[in-house]
Amino acid sequence: MIAEIGQFTLILALVTAFFQGTLPMIGAARGNAPLMRFADNAALVQFLAISIAFGALTTGYITSDFSILNVANNSHSTKPMLYKVTGVWGNHEGSLLLWGWILALFGFSVALFGRNLPGSLKARVLSVQGLIGVGFLLFVLFTSNPFTRLDPAPFDGDGLNPLLQDPGLAFHPPFLYLGYVGLSVTFSFAIAALIEGRVDPAWARWVRPWTLAAWSFLTIGIAMGSWWAYYELGWGGWWFWDPVENASFMPWLAATALLHSAIVVEKRDALKNWTILLAIIAFSLSLLGTFLVRSGVLNSVHAFASDPTRGLFILIFLIVVVGGSLLLYGLRAPSMKGGGLFAPISREGGLVLNNLLLSTAAATVLLGTLYPIFLDAFSGEKVSVGPPYFEATFLPLALPLLIAMAIGPFLPWKRADITGAFARLKFALLAALVLGGGIYAWRSHTSIMTLFGLAVFAWLFAGSLLEWTERVRLFRGSLGASLKRIKGLPRSAHGMTIAHMGAALVVLGITASGAWQTEHLGVMKPGDVIDVGGYDFRFEGAHDVTGPNFKAVEGHFVASDGGSPIDLYPQQRTYDMPPMQTTEAAIHPMLTADLYAVIGDADGKGGYAVRIYHKPLISWIWMGALVMFAGGALSFSDRRLRLGAPKQAKTMTPGGAREIKGS
């Protein structure tokens, strides 16, 4: 019964999405208000229908209803409840249903919070959302139906891949999808603007919060995925430039660029065409990511199935969406009028540089990711493009970006004085020199790249902080006056400072953990002691333990650097269903370093293969990402960006033009 409810509501959602995609568009063209308003109701119905369908599948998982093929293939009655629920999206069909549900959620949010949008714009935005929904629901219903019955129902299910039975990964897809699909809203706004033939600062003001939300979710989603790879795969790495990782990283780069170019449209009425194009590209990269990951073109934990009809469907969908929107762009964009002028050295100029570097970086990543696929398709030769390529192309583009990130906020709009900006950044330069020089004095064999990376961290961190202190006039008057300014500063300004500092912390974590990691690989017998990174690791032995749905060999290490001892319990698990081994690294995260231990096979002579890492400052990679997310969230809560907040007159406080700096 429950599967039939899900099936029925999915079809209902498809029909609703079809009308949502067509009627309001006609209404907007003819100025027919009731047809335009229909979009709101359709978005609500579509959202409710997919919610019921999603609830139906979740119920199937919770009650272990193995008469549903999808549940039987991916769940098991002994699986812990948390993973029964998260298992709903731990497979191809369920994850697409989640995608569709989030799409409907965003559509509904536009209907709900977009009260202040002009009627025709809102109708067109919702209409485009409806059309995307049609594409996805068709895909779900015809190639990936999660409600297919299985008769006779098996006694028990096949279980979920144990690598996915993990809290980090359980919540990685929802966040990533909130980001991917969030970009569908900016895409819909871009298409609607092209149809309307009008882009103005108000449009940018409506687009920014959606971009900001999508960007924040993407940031946290990518960070979670990398964190999972770090502790679950047991290789100690956190980013592999794997095509699947790149698939999520490219939309992030495009979203970051979009976030910044939308500011120029909002504040200066310039870069309009570019921003529209970027919105199209960002969502196209999201779709491409979904295609790469789900079609089975790539081999990874994400490629649940490699059914060629699915790949073909997504490919056609991708061509229609990308080709159609670019065609529309080509037809309509030239008629859009450019806005405010600016000198190359100015806030706008800085943001253009930001966009250039980010989109070029995205392009090099795209090339490296797609090249093996094309080469295979055209010549049958199998190659892979590894980290050396991405490091050689991405880093030289990322470093100038990071350096410019500290300067940009110091530049006023229209025309700026670069020497003045540098003069105000002298403490940041000092910080960079002191850190780089200090490290060199301490360890002269440190590589030049490491020194440079650390200097960039200091420069960006101090530069962002300096800009903030200058804006609130800290130490330049009474503390009370500064506090007042802190309160008066728009939240998006605080958000920018925090997000930029977060990026600096990520640089710190990447540089330090890459440069100063120590590793030990070998066989240890109980009682053996080994020194790794200044810690004595004592192997106490290993014994068998039993979990809810696995058995494991659990090792015990005691690590000490003279202070209180730290216990580490790495496991090698063998799951019951599906029967599969996983490595559970034991990680002791600290602000200064992570201790990381893995236990492997017994050698039959009382010893075990072990791998131990000491990774200085690595946790700052994820903490930095969290700080970036916090900056995004704070910016999102800015009342000027609040969805539906009345358009605010530009108030010029005594700070003059500086008031309108945004993140």
Partner: protein, 146 residues
């Protein structure tokens, strides 16, 4: 600053960045493309020692010998095989008779020294390169791979 002049500056800046990026891509592509060969490919067209590439096939039954954290095994496509040595911890799903992809180089005695043995995430899964290698050698049996 006229609109035209501004556009010119932006186009110039864009071309500079793109030019640098193209140069970076071209120089790094030559060194960082990692080719994939099956044992039969390798037998037909030997690769110079020291050059980085990937090899894939099945882990030959009975070939795995463990010496502490150093492993010796053979990768086969059921026609030809290549001896492999690897120092480190093998991925969880490494098994005799299962598909495997390894990255590394040949040493002077013709043994493949793997720097990385790629993990499969799922026991049902066969790396597509391995499937293709087996198909090429005529030993592909889809029903046996699951």
């Amino acid at each position: 600053m006229t609109r035209k002049r501004r556009r010119l500056y932006m186009v110039l800046a864009g071309m500079c960045v793109l030019g640098i990026a193209t140069a970076l891509v071209l120089t790094s592509f030559r060194d960082s493309l990692v080719f994939f060969y099956s044992p039969t490919d390798l037998a037909a067209k030997p690769v110079a020692a020291g050059r980085n590439f990937r090899i894939g096939g099945l882990v030959k039954d009975g070939s795995v010998v463990k010496d502490g954290v150093i492993y010796h095994f053979s990768v086969t496509d059921l026609k030809n095989e290549v001896p492999v040595t690897y120092k480190g911890m093998l991925p969880d799903l490494f098994r005799e008779g299962q598909g495997v992809v390894a990255e590394g180089h040949l040493n002077d005695s013709g043994t493949f020294v793997a720097s990385n043995v790629l993990a499969k995430h799922d026991e049902k899964y066969m790396p597509p390169e391995v499937a293709a290698a087996l198909k090429k050698s005529g030993e592909w049996r889809p029903e046996a791979s699951n």
